[in-house]
Symmetry: C2
Subunit: 340 residues, 2 copies
């Protein structure tokens, strides 16, 4: 173990969270990825880096590129190939964020006005398109057709998930299965792909590929369900997102679906008025929170997220032990518990 690695390992162990630990453990790699992200968002059309930088530099946890790096390193690859692919994954994610915020008419993202508010819908749509194309250019530079397959499949799946979400919005009859299908597509698919390309780059067999894909998928599910629960956790003002967004948009997520499973007539009428008809008045969010509380919907949502977290950990059974393995193993539970 080199001095640097030892230092990183020590740092990661004392890190505040497994995500911070992963960032520390892969710190040198992530510096390269971040530099590449900044470099590849350049264009001689000034508005493009302006919008892209606004979104990407605003932070975000970089969890997807971290997963690509981690899965490549865990699979035994120690070269620079994952850098471009990790950047590609972050670009696909950034493109979907830009388009999502247009579609959802969001006003806030990562604790600041969202790009659609600052630069307009037009710029958000087109810069999203650019980042998406740039992601594929990065994959082409790498040259592995299998990586292109994984990420083009993921991109098609994400778009389908977003459309499905659009179709089920404001529909109180949305089932838990439909919800899982939506978040499986719009969130877990990219987590799965980000993890799957690691072993591909490392030249590992399809069993390793499938195990890491499985890890990413279940982590993504846990992550999104926890996110959807947090959207109703009114004391979490540090999230960089407005509490109650999903409620205001009529987005059917785990807490409301769970609360609707054994709702009485009055509650059902409430959800129909507020979500389906989008007829919302002052105090309705508080009432929604009270109903969710009555049904233990947030706790039950987190329990569901926890189930996925457990599955994610199980998928790592065959992976080599070490600091990286420890962090990846701790990440799913952290994704569920996070209050950040």
């Amino acid at each position: 173990m080199s001095a640097q690695t030892a230092r990183q390992t020590a740092a990661s162990i004392s890190a505040a969270s497994p995500l911070d630990g992963l960032s520390l453990l892969l710190g040198d790699d992530m510096k390269k990825v971040n530099a590449l992200i900044l470099q590849k968002m350049q264009s001689d059309v000034p508005m493009i880096p302006q919008v892209a930088r606004y979104l990407i530099a605003a932070g975000g946890k970089r969890i997807r590129p971290l997963l690509t790096l981690a899965s490549a390193r865990l699979s035994g690859h120690d070269g620079p190939r994952p850098y471009g692919l990790a950047a590609a994954v972050e670009f696909i994610h950034s493109a979907t964020l830009l388009h999502d915020d247009v579609v959802d008419e969001s006003r806030e993202r990562r604790g600041q006005d969202s790009a659609n508010i600052v630069f307009g819908n037009q710029a958000s749509v087109l810069v999203g398109d650019f980042l998406f194309a740039r992601a594929f250019q990065l994959m082409v530079e790498d040259g592995a057709i299998e990586v292109l397959r994984i990420l083009s499949d993921a991109a098609a799946t994400i778009a389908q998930g977003e459309v499905l979400q659009l179709q089920t919005a404001r529909n109180p009859d949305t089932s838990m299965d439909e919800y899982k299908k939506i978040i499986g597509a719009k969130t877990a698919a990219l987590f799965a792909a980000a993890c799957e390309i690691g072993p591909v780059v490392a030249g590992k067999n399809s069993a390793t590929q499938e195990a890491l894909r499985d890890y990413g998928y279940n982590l993504g599910m846990a992550f999104q369900i926890a996110d959807d629960v947090l959207d109703y956790a009114a004391d979490q003002k540090t999230l960089g997102k407005t509490v109650g967004d999903d409620f205001r948009e009529g987005k059917m997520t785990a807490p409301v679906i769970l609360a609707l499973q054994d709702a009485d007539a009055e509650e059902r009428a409430f959800w129909q008025r507020t979500m389906e008809k989008q007829d919302q008045a002052k105090g309705d969010l508080d009432r929604a929170l009270a109903i969710l509380g009555r049904h233990g919907a947030l706790e039950r949502g987190l329990a569901l997220a926890h189930d996925y977290a457990t599955k994610a950990c199980a998928a790592l059974n065959g992976a080599p032990r070490g600091a990286l393995h420890d962090m990846l193993l701790a990440l799913p539970a952290f994704a569920v518990k996070r209050d950040h």
Copy 2:
């Protein structure tokens, strides 16, 4: 020459236009491409084929997939490989149309209400994303990394052209060079790419690749400039687009840029008011047309388009002679003269 080929050649010679001729000459191939387009726009999310079919089945000239087929056949490839790539090219084009109409707030496309009007901006953005991803899946199925390079480069260039267009909108100081850069990116780049992948599939050398790319680029320039002139040709009500769209949107295109080159103070004030400040009243479009007429701006625009058409034809110098060559040679002049 088979009976079928002979029949097609005879048909193409008597066809109303080189585009019809090309469609007839490549009729059997285009049937396969159209079937593939319909098949690959399917999804178990019903809104996706619904929106895609609405746009794609509404017609359109399918000029880009025709170019991919033609360039592959002209380069000596006679297998089915170009079908998927021609469909990919059409999907990229369709995705940009869906996003364009959102960005431009268009109301009409191909003679009917545009998709953003019928299905909303959200569906247009997301189904565009799906078609874009699907295009890359089709390229991955083909497996040629060089094709992926060509089309991912084109996609990034298109997005940059669109953003540049957004930035120059309503700016009467837009130069002819900036205009050429915009249309070179947003239109000619995909024409060039559509043509370039033909020789790649046929395994031809880079000189053939460059020649056909050159043909496509110049054809695309001619096509777009003619299109921008037609936008002001008020008697062309059969275009399937509203006359004066570019004027109303403040889009700086060849006719206005040419008319501004030797505009007097009053005319300049008119363009500033109507384009820059978007302060338009009844009768302003007629006045714009009168000013364009005074400067011969439409004729001069078409002359510029004709220059590109000539360059396109010159690029075909080294290509094998025959019916396909004849049609491709006739296409650029037709693109300029078209009143359809």
